[in-house]
C-alpha cells in the first residue's frame, strides 16, 4: 500500500520540488524559549481555514437577496442537517479570530518583532487586522436582520464622515442612495470573496516572509541562558548549527541568532497543534452553549429598536457618544481611528531604536498600553450603556 503512495510522491517530487520546500519549511530552526507565545499566528491561520470551509458550507444554502436572506439563515439554523453547528462555528470562530489577532499583534509588538528587517511582516499584519475586521463587519449585514442592518447603517454613516471622500465612499458602499438590495449584493461580494481572498493571500505572504527571514521570537531568546537551564539536546545543537550557517550565508535574509533553538518540525508544530485544538474546542463548546444570534426582520422605519454596535467596535460606539455634534463627530468617526491605524502602520519607522526589551522602550510600550487600555475602557462603558438601553426606553 505505502509503496504506491511513495511512488506517487517520488513521481511528483521529481517534477515539483516538494521535498526541498518541505525541508526548508519544516526543518526550520525556531527560537525555543517562550515558544508557546509564538503559536498564535499559526492558530490564526488554521482557524482562518476553518472559517473558509464553514463559509463554503453556508454558501450552499444562503440566498443573498432582500427577500430571501433572513429566511435562508433561519432555514440553515433550524432545518439544515448540522446547519446550526456550521453557522455557530462560523460565528464564534470569527469572535475567536479577532481576539487572537489582537493577542498576536500585542505579542509581536511587545517582542519588538516588527523591527528591521521585519517591517514588511508587520505592515502586512496590520493589513490583515483591518481586513479581518472588515470581513466580520460585512458579514453581519448578510443576516439581513435588524442588528446587521443597523450595523451597516451606522457603518456607512461613519464612512460618510471621512474628510473629503466621505460621501463618495458611502455611495460606493451603499450602491444607491439608500441601503437596499444593491448594498446587500456589494456586502456579499466583499464578504465572501474580495476580503477573504485578500486575507488568505496576504496571510500566505506574511507567513512566507517569516520562513524567509526566520522567526525572531522575543528578547528572552537573546539573553544569556538562565542559570540551571538543562543542557542542549542533540536537536537543539543541530538546529542551531543549521541556523548559524544560514545566518552566515550572504545570500540568506536570516539575521538573528537566538540563544537556544529547536526544529520547527516536530517540536514547534506540536505546540501549534495543541494550542489550535484547544482554541477550536473552545469555539465548539461556545457554539453548543450559545447559538449564533438572529435578530428581528429588517424594519428601517422602526422607532423602538435600539441599535448597538458589534462587540469589537463597541469602543467606536462610545467614541461617537463622546464627540457629539457635527463639528466633532468626524474626530470620533474617522480622524481618531485613522490616526491610530496610521500610527500602527508607521510603527516600525517611528520606533527605530534597536532595543527590544520592553523595559528599554518604555515610551512605546506605554503608548501601546494607553491605546489598548482606552479601547478596553471605552468598550466596557459602551457595553454597560447598551445593557441599560431597554430600561431607559421603558422609562415614563
Amino acid at each position: 500500500m505505502f509503496w504506491i503512495i511513495d511512488g506517487i510522491y517520488e513521481w511528483i517530487d521529481r517534477r515539483l520540488p516538494v521535498s526541498a520546500v518541505l525541508y526548508r519549511v519544516l526543518r526550520d530552526p525556531v527560537p525555543e524559549r517562550g515558544s508557546w507565545w509564538y503559536t498564535l499566528g499559526a492558530a490564526i491561520f488554521l482557524l482562518l481555514i476553518i472559517q473558509v470551509v464553514t463559509g463554503i458550507f453556508l454558501l450552499l444554502y444562503y440566498v443573498p437577496s432582500w427577500e430571501g436572506a433572513l429566511d435562508s439563515i433561519i432555514y440553515i439554523q433550524q432545518q439544515v442537517f448540522l446547519g446550526w453547528l456550521v453557522r455557530g462555528i462560523h460565528y464564534w470562530n470569527m469572535v475567536m479570530l479577532i481576539i487572537l489577532i489582537g493577542a498576536h499583534m500585542s505579542r509581536t509588538f511587545i517582542s519588538a518583532a516588527f523591527k528591521s528587517p521585519r517591517e514588511l511582516t508587520w505592515l502586512l499584519g496590520v493589513t490583515l487586522l483591518l481586513l479581518m475586521v472588515a470581513t466580520a463587519f460585512t458579514g453581519s449585514l448578510l443576516r439581513w436582520d435588524q442588528s446587521g442592518y443597523f450595523d451597516t447603517v451606522v457603518g456607512i454613516k461613519i464612512a460618510s464622515w471621512t474628510p473629503l471622500i466621505g460621501p463618495w465612499l458611502a455611495q460606493l458602499w451603499r450602491g444607491s442612495d439608500v441601503i437596499g438590495p444593491a448594498t446587500l449584493t456589494r456586502n456579499f461580494a466583499l464578504h465572501v470573496w474580495i476580503l477573504p481572498a485578500g486575507l488568505l493571500l496576504i496571510a500566505v505572504v506574511h507567513i512566507g516572509l517569516l520562513v524567509i527571514q526566520g522567526q525572531f521570537g522575543s528578547w528572552v531568546n537573546y539573553e544569556p541562558e538562565p542559570p540551571g537551564s538543562p543542557p542542549f539536546t542533540e536537536d537543539e545543537i543541530a538546529s542551531r548549527k543549521k541556523l548559524e550557517e544560514e545566518v552566515l550565508d550572504p545570500r540568506s535574509s536570516k539575521v538573528n541568532l537566538p540563544a537556544r533553538t529547536t526544529w520547527f518540525y516536530p517540536f514547534h508544530i506540536y505546540k501549534e497543534a495543541v494550542v489550535t485544538l484547544v482554541l477550536f474546542v473552545l469555539v465548539l463548546v461556545t457554539t453548543v452553549l450559545f447559538p449564533a444570534p438572529i435578530d428581528e426582520p429588517v424594519d428601517p422605519t422602526t422607532t423602538t429598536y435600539s441599535p448597538s454596535s458589534m462587540w469589537f467596535l463597541l469602543f467606536e460606539d462610545q467614541l461617537l457618544l463622546l464627540f457629539p455634534g457635527s463639528w466633532l463627530v468626524p474626530i470620533a468617526a474617522t480622524i481618531a481611528p485613522g490616526i491610530v491605524i496610521t500610527l500602527l502602520f508607521l510603527l516600525p519607522w517611528l520606533e527605530r531604536s534597536p532595543d527590544i526589551k520592553p523595559s528599554l522602550r518604555p515610551q512605546a510600550v506605554a503608548f501601546y498600553a494607553v491605546i489598548v487600555g482606552a479601547i478596553l475602557v471605552l468598550s466596557l462603558l459602551a457595553a454597560s450603556r447598551v445593557y441599560n438601553y431597554d430600561f431607559i426606553n421603558s422609562r415614563p
Binding site: L321, Q363, A366, L381, N388
Partner: protein, 438 residues
C-alpha cells in the same frame, strides 16, 4: 420626615463630612495598593530595582497603617447612618442586600490578604513572583469591595427596578462610576505620594535620601498624570449615563444649581495637567537635558487649553460683562470645551512622552537647584489640588440628586411618601418595585 431627635442639619452634615473624609482615605489606600504592586513589578524589569523596591515597600507600609483608619471611619459611618437615617439604611439594605454581602466578604478577604502580603515582603524576597501574585489578589479583592459600594452609589443616582438583581448590579452608572474610581484612586494616590516625596526631598539633608525622594516624586507624578488621562473620557461617559437615566440630576449638575461646581472641577483638572507639565519642564531643565523648549511649548498649550476650559458660559449681566447678553461665546461645551479638553490632554500627553524620553537618557536626581526646588513645590501643590478635586467630585455626585436619596424613589425629607419602598412585613423577600412608586 424620618423620626429623629437630631436636627436635620446635623444629620446631613455629619454624613457629608464623614463620607468626604472616609473617601479620601479609602481612595488613597486603594490607589496605594495598586501603585505598590505596579512598582514592585516594575522593579523586576527596571535597572533601578532598589528604588522601585524601596518605594513599593514604603507604600505597603503606609497602606497598612492607614487601612485601619479608613476602616474605623467606615465603621463610624455605619453607626451614624443607622442612628441618623434608619429608614433609608433599611431600604438600602433591602435593595442592595447581595452587593453588601459580597462587599463584606471582600472586606474580610482584604484583611486576610493585607497582612501576609506586607509581612512576607522580606521573607519572599527570593520569590518575587509569589509575592506579586499576593499583591494582585489583594488589589483584586479591595477593588471588588469598592465595586460593590459603587453598585449602591450608582443605584442611588440611576436606580433600576430593585427586583431584578442583575440590573441592580449593572445599573447605568455602576460601571462608569467604578472605572472613574479605580482610575481616579491610582491617580490621586500618585499625586499624594508625589507630594509626600517632595516634602521629604525638601527636608532631607542627606544626599542619598534626597536623590531617592526626588526620584520617588517623579514616580508619583507619572502615575498620577498617567492615570489622569483616562479620567475626562470616563467622566464624560458617566455624565452621559446620568443624562440619559436621571435627566433631572444632569440638569442640576450641568445647567442648574450645581453648574458652578463643574467650573470648579475643570479648573482643578486644568491645574493638575498644567502643574504636571510644569513639573516635567522644571525637572528636565534642572538636569540640563534636551527638550526643555519642546516642553515649554507644550506647557503653553496645556495652560491656554486650561484657561479655555475654565470659561463660564453665563456671565451675569450684573458683573459688567454686558457684551453679548451675559453669554460668553467661548464658554460653550461644543466645540470649545472639547477643543480645550483635547488641547489639554494631547499637550500633556506629548509632554509626558518627551519627559519619558529624557528619563531614558537619565535625569539627575537629588540636585535641588532653583528649578529642582520649584519642582518639589509643584508636587506639593499637585497633592493639594488632587485632594480638593476628590472632595469636589464627591460633593457634586451627592448633591446632584437632591432632594432625593435614591433618585426618583426616595426623598430625604419625606420617605413616607414612597410607600412601595417602605419595609412592610408582607413584602418579604420580594423587594419592592420602584416602578410602582411612580
Amino acid at each position: 420626615m424620618e423620626p429623629s431627635l437630631v436636627p436635620d442639619l446635623v444629620r446631613r452634615l455629619s454624613m457629608a463630612l464623614l463620607m468626604l473624609f472616609h473617601l479620601q482615605f479609602a481612595a488613597f489606600i486603594i490607589g496605594v495598593f495598586g501603585l505598590a504592586v505596579v512598582m514592585e513589578f516594575l522593579g523586576l524589569l527596571s535597572p533601578a530595582r532598589p528604588y522601585f523596591d524601596r518605594l513599593a515597600h514604603g507604600l505597603a507600609r503606609t497602606s497598612v497603617i492607614l487601612y485601619s483608619t479608613g476602616a474605623v471611619l467606615a465603621i463610624i459611618f455605619m453607626l451614624v447612618i443607622t442612628l441618623f437615617w434608619p429608614t433609608f439604611w433599611y431600604i438600602v439594605i433591602r435593595i442592595a442586600f447581595w452587593p453588601m454581602v459580597l462587599e463584606a466578604i471582600a472586606f474580610v478577604l482584604t484583611i486576610l490578604y493585607l497582612f501576609p502580603w506586607y509581612y512576607t515582603w522580606d521573607r519572599l524576597a527570593g520569590f518575587k513572583g509569589a509575592h506579586l501574585a499576593m499583591g494582585v489578589a489583594l488589589v483584586a479583592v479591595v477593588n471588588a469591595q469598592q465595586a460593590m459600594i459603587d453598585v449602591m452609589a450608582g443605584y442611588m443616582l440611576t436606580p433600576t427596578p430593585p427586583t431584578d438583581l442583575l440590573r441592580v448590579f449593572f445599573n447605568a452608572s455602576t460601571l462608569p462610576l467604578d472605572m472613574h474610581r479605580v482610575v481616579g484612586d491610582v491617580s490621586f494616590a500618585g499625586f499624594v505620594v508625589g507630594g509626600y516625596a517632595a516634602l521629604r526631598a525638601l527636608r532631607s539633608r542627606d544626599e542619598e535620601r534626597r536623590r531617592y525622594y526626588d526620584w520617588m516624586g517623579n514616580a508619583g507624578l507619572i502615575a498620577g498624570l498617567g492615570f489622569l488621562f483616562l479620567q475626562p473620557a470616563i467622566g464624560l461617559a458617566y455624565v452621559e449615563e446620568i443624562r440619559a437615566n436621571s435627566p433631572g440630576a444632569f440638569t442640576a449638575m450641568m445647567r442648574g444649581r450645581l453648574s458652578w461646581t463643574f467650573l470648579v472641577q475643570v479648573s482643578f483638572l486644568s491645574a493638575l495637567f498644567f502643574l504636571s507639565a510644569l513639573y516635567m519642564a522644571l525637572q528636565v531643565r534642572k538636569s540640563g537635558e534636551r527638550g526643555v523648549r519642546m516642553l515649554t511649548v507644550l506647557l503653553v498649550v496645556v495652560g491656554l487649553s486650561g484657561l479655555l476650559l475654565m470659561q463660564p458660559y453665563v456671565v451675569g449681566p450684573s458683573q459688567g460683562y454686558q457684551w453679548i447678553n451675559g453669554i460668553n461665546p467661548i464658554g460653550t461645551m461644543q466645540p470649545w470645551k472639547y477643543i480645550a479638553f483635547g488641547g489639554m490632554t494631547l499637550g500633556a500627553l506629548g509632554a509626558l512622552y518627551a519627559y519619558m524620553g529624557s528619563l531614558r537618557h537619565g535625569l539627575r536626581w537629588g540636585h535641588l537647584g532653583p528649578a529642582g526646588r520649584g519642582a518639589q513645590y509643584i508636587l506639593l501643590m499637585l497633592a493639594v489640588v488632587g485632594s480638593l478635586m476628590m472632595l469636589t467630585m464627591g460633593f457634586i455626585r451627592e448633591n446632584s440628586r437632591q432632594p432625593f436619596l435614591i433618585y426618583y424613589e426616595l426623598r430625604w425629607d419625606q420617605p413616607e411618601s414612597y410607600p412601595t419602598l417602605q419595609p412592610t412585613p408582607t413584602s418579604q423577600g420580594q423587594g419592592s418595585s420602584g416602578q410602582a412608586a411612580r
